[in-house]
Symmetry: C3
């Protein structure tokens, strides 16, 4: 039997449109029976934040990072024509019109298709997150785990 | 006979400098006899827009997108030191001085070298383009076509 | 004996956080015994600039580029939440707290691990650099050399 093809994405960006592109490729690859991993690092980690108040003791900088960064993909800005938040609203409007799923649903779909969602542990530490602030079903790992997936990969992307 | 090597680029960005990097790599790979595909999605699609007035009936949002986004690569901003449009002028000046082709010519060269230029159909729909607004010789396809090219690829990049 | 795995990164970005991601992946891959190349192009070239005054005769535009762009990674801005320079300071503070190396040390580590650092010759010409302004131990090459490394690569990324 042939081995499964592998798609491994480093999601570095915290822009709504780039996160959307990452999850569309990931869901497509999973539908084509690839083994898919998304490794969320730096600002991409925000896509995995729970959108609810969670009480964790934090230092000043960590509290500030937590407040300033978006809680989940739907709160993100877009990389281009953001126009103080009008851009994301316009994009979401045309997405609805054309039956394109919002990113939060693309993430749910990825989970259902067994896409492996990984949170970069170094980023979790740097930005002062507690694991309880990250959505369920996410693994925590480092660059070694990423490389183990990527080095046998067919499609490797940095987004 | 050995199979041809494959280079497949997702061009997501609509920044002049990133589009330039994508087309330089694509033309280089084609010169080395790779089979090359550039899949233009989101803002990268603007590189393929015709720079002429085209009359298409559109809704309000679509008309607005059409007006605000650049018509072709030469109208794009750069990702860094754009300085209200002075940056692109400075870059183009030094490019001319060092005999580096402008992006519009890099695109022509890519076509002559049979680089496959693909426009992401979902983006065409989302941003409200009509196929008549996209330059000739471009294919329209979705993520499945991208994956079919990328999964056997040697060089896969997301730009 | 099995051939070495290969990781080849195009570093296009001149943002501190993206350069950091590139060098963390590169150092990780080198530790796992990959043959690693970082090809510095466009703004990514600034990561290799010496941070000392160097006297080179230049034209007006080249002088201006030289003055406006950061001299080495530690002078770079971050891609998100830069806040007029406060962001990099905050990030560096939490990096220190969590024993994450600053990028300048990640570059030193990469050199010690024999990561091949390449400066894109076209960018050197375009931005008007003299080779004496680039740190020692760096090779100068073009897209052909990049492709020769990348086409047999296991992990190819554009950052």
């Amino acid at each position: 039997m042939a081995e499964k093809k592998k798609t491994t994405i480093v999601l570095f960006s915290g822009d709504y449109d780039k996160v959307m592109a990452a999850y569309i490729i990931a869901n497509g690859a999973a539908a084509y029976d690839h083994e898919v991993t998304i490794f969320h690092t730096f600002w991409g980690l925000n896509a995995l934040r729970k959108d609810e108040p969670i009480t964790v003791k934090k230092g000043f900088l960590e509290k500030m990072f937590g407040k300033m960064m978006p809680k989940g993909a739907e709160k993100m800005a877009i990389s281009n024509m953001n126009m103080a938040g009008m851009g994301p609203k316009m994009i979401k409007k045309v997405m609805k019109k054309h039956n394109v799923m919002p990113v939060s649903e693309l993430i749910d779909m990825a989970k259902m298709q067994d896409v492996k969602l990984v949170a970069c542990q170094m980023t979790v530490d740097l930005l002062g997150f507690d694991q309880s602030e990250i959505m369920d079903g996410v693994e925590f790992a480092g660059v070694a785990a990423y490389l183990a997936d990527a080095e046998d990969g067919n499609v490797n992307l940095f987004i």
